[in-house]
Amino acid sequence: MFKYTLQRILYMCMVLLIITAMCFVLVRMLPPAELPPGDPHTEVVEARREALGYNKPYMVQFGIFLQNVFTKFDWGISDKLYFGRDVAQIFFEKLPVSIIVNLYSILFSIPIGIGLGIFAALKKNTWVDYLLSTATMIVISVPSFVYAFIIQYIFSYKLGWLPFLMKAGTDYFTWDMFVSMLPAVMSLSFGTIAGFTRTTRAELTEVLTSEFMLLARTKGLTKAQATIRHAMRNCFVVVVPAIFGSFIGVLGGSLIIERIFAIPGVGGLTINAINGRDYPIFMLTTCFYTAIGLVASLVVDISYGFIDPRIRMGSKK
């Protein structure tokens, strides 16, 4: 297991380096953002690009980039979107709010989603199951921004119960802030709830029909005891890695939801950085999300081994 994990981490680093190099070269191949013909600032922009080393060979630039990151954790200074500011500082300033909103969403969604999934599985082939399954499919099919507008329209505009936008400030754990986050949290939650409901229902339904469940009942366990002690554990072999994945996903933010509810998170940073040719921000966000994606897949894979002792990672027959 240890060897396998070490091997995966090594591969992960290699993949990260390759993706980073590709993104670095590709984004720097983009021409600078155009100014109107004859704009007197063109010369200044070009001089600044020259000074920043953007006209050097790409691999030389990449070498400097890696050196700065590894020796000083210096991701550079924003030259466009947040002129003059340290990009790492901007990123980590904006990251908490994305995490908090997504975390609230996950914390709401997982118990509700799993609960509904269990309920649907236990009521398999009844009207309750059909209702939940249909609702789940509909909810999964509709993108989250649609819920965002519906929630905004009903709860903020018509009923006036919730604010339209997230509150300004960094007092993330106050009641006012929590209330202002609710529309976004609700919008993000629908899809996640539906996802967990569907996964849990599917897994639990399969487990409940297994032979060992019959054995458990014949041993004298009640249905509830058999379900909780045996069926749930087996069902969670699939559900728990999904929970891990969701928790790691909270770091990513949500471009559209953040825009609709004016959440100053990291959701739109990458797109804005590409449009604005803000290379340092693009590279930081790209590296961060690539690393998160790789770590997430590693954690999920390894988690199988912990949840179900029958699964042995990296073992050879």
């Binding site: 109107p36 063109t42 003059g84 936008l165």
Partner: protein, 850 residues
Amino acid sequence: MKKLIALLLAVVMVFGLVACGEKTPETTAPNETQGTTPPETTAPQAEATYTWKDSVVTLATNWNPHTYQTTDDSYPADFLRVGLYGFYFNDELHPKDGVDPYGGYVIIPEMAAALPVDVTEQVKAEHPEYGIPESATEGFAYVIDLNPNAVWEDGTPINADTYVESMKRLLDVRFLNYRASDYFAGNFCVAGAEAYYNSGKTVYVDDATVDFSALTLGEDGVYCTADGYPVYVAVSAPIAYFDGANSLADYVGAYGEEYFSMTHWEALAAAANEEGYAPLTEETKAYLTDVITGNPNWNEDESYLPNYVTYYKEFPVVEYDGTVGLYKTGDYQITLVLGKSLAGFNLLYNLSGNWIVNIDLYDACLTEEQGVWSSTYNTSVETTLSYGPYKMVSYQTDKAMRFERNENWYGYTDGQHKYIDPTDGETYDMYMTTAIDTQVVGEAATRKMMFLKGELMSYGLQADDFATYRQSEYCYATPSETIFFLILNGHMESIKNREASADFDQTTTDLEVMTLKSFHQAMGLTYDKDLFAATISPARSGGFGIIGTNYIYDPETGAKYRDTDQAKQVLCDFYAVDVSAFASLDDAVASITGYDPEQAKIFYQQAFDEAIAAGFITDNDGDGISDQTVKIEYCISSDSDFMTKTVDYLNEKATEVTAGTPFEGKILFTKSAPYGNEWSNKIKAGLADTVLGGWSGSALDPFGLTDLYTNPSYQYDAAWYDATQVMLTINVPVNGVDTDVTMNLKQWSDALNGATVEVDGVEYNYGSGAADVETRLDILAACEGKILESYNYLPMLQDGGMSLLSQQVFYVIDEYNPIMGRGGITYAKYNYTDAEWAAYVAEQGGELQY
């Protein structure tokens, strides 16, 4: 378990019923404000708060006056900064004197203590280092007394040192400040600013000014300019001629033999240095000439060579003192020396901005890494010090910012910042607003809901809103400069090439008809411009000339070009309106729709006859209808509903008007692939056929627009319309005698914009200050008429926007002024305090009606 579930379901149902039964504001609240007028204006209540609640899509991130780049970033400037001079409505023109309210504006000293005093003669004599021309007697040097009451928000005085030290930092060669060129590249040119900014640098200057007839061959075989600077061919370096983004190599790489002669391209490319420049020698000059003139498809001759070359200019190392024309002549007095003369309105207009920074804070915000300087000045509350009417009190990146009154601002106590309200003739203090709350609201739908709940001061109408709100008494239309016109392809060579391609079926489709002027004329009369605007973009209106309604030709009075008799007459002439049939010229202009289906049919018939004669199309079955469909590709940058609506409208009306003509059902507009930023190049190269394009320029300089239609660097139709071959005769004063002068259109445009043009040994210059304004208007109108006559540009839309203003506030003037707007935050007046407004909105059921 069942009981528990039943209980839960019951709770949910009860909750649902309660929610359904909740009476919404829309159904129950009486709308007491609809159709009523706001309460009478009163003086602001003491201790009351008046908060301007604003929204933006993108929040400013850097409002440093030396480095900001976008209009989003300039947002806080109106609150935090004040220029040396400011614009205000002219109080002397108000209803009590029987004059229309605020028909003009005045310029008053703000950060200055008095108007500038011209000291050109004195400075010329005492400071020859600033290079004031020997012949100049005025307009080059000014003494400006500074306002001694001006301080930073923390009370620190602002004096002459602040101005000089700020300019020194702005132009510092190390900092590469984005805004530095604002002080030397345009008309407002501080003497020596460019030399100091480039101190010790060598740069390739790409301004298309290299005069090939004046080149001299250096000892090293490289051509030099008359000033001795070596000249280089920009081979793989971006050039201004290609919008500063592409190089000749990019174009050759993209189009190759299709447009360029490739015989010597490799040799030219090989001569380039690592920066992409090749020294201009006999050899490389010949190569370059062959590349751009050797293929007729590129349609250029040797006169285009200056566009492809730069010169290598070396700037000596200089000190600020004795170089830059801004120096201290007293604790509260500066002397400003200009590199180009500037006086009157234009001088004061340029000084309505400001470059000063708080030196201590500025220096503390500077960082240097590997030779690159950056600054965090004016990127947060901590790095911002105001000297304007408001100060920043909170800022959260990409979220919100808040400004409150800066009690240390001199304007609140100097007695100058008062105005007479034209609605009641009473005197009020300016800046009634006590705080400004600005937050990011990304979606228009959210903005609309917030506005209707009273949480925002204004809402810009979207396409879906016009039917509901355009008649609202709270709706304001704001015109802007741009005229959108349909450009029609006339590039015959390109069209022939397209038709020659293997997948083009000439028996069913034709493109060549598009090049006929009669076809352009027919298209021009096919569309009702106002109806077009109402259908596809209701915030805009019909466009009829190539110069929009918003351009002011005389900034001193605010008079607009489109209101002049010359401008009206040219439209009547172009649209063949018989002025004598109307009571006035205004009535004649008002009758223009640009739509004449009967005349259009005649032109379609004429185009058909010409096309048959030229062999562009056939009529093999002799039914009098073209065998081919004229397929017009509408060039899109990216697809959108707007594009779809536009193309649908163009097709629908073309089908209507061509009924009964040889082109009945034979004109088809289709959308191109999304070309992104390449769309303009596609149009210029004749690779796409039409687009709604537009130009806008400075609202105070309609004369400069002629260059956009006559200069190949800008022209969309440069490949098939040569302004140097279009002759125009205008009756203008020459040495005081009215004379018919004939020049080509390009020469008229150049002369109108200040260049001295020589024709038959006589020099003409009708630039600002060189000719009276009436003469300049005559020339501008004649040029506009000549450009319209080409029918390459069919005016369609006058740009503009519409927005709703909250019932909490009102403007003291309804009519939009291109310089003053409607007074902005300076003149905004409130019907309700914040507390009253909250109560009022609640009283209306939380949802307001507009």
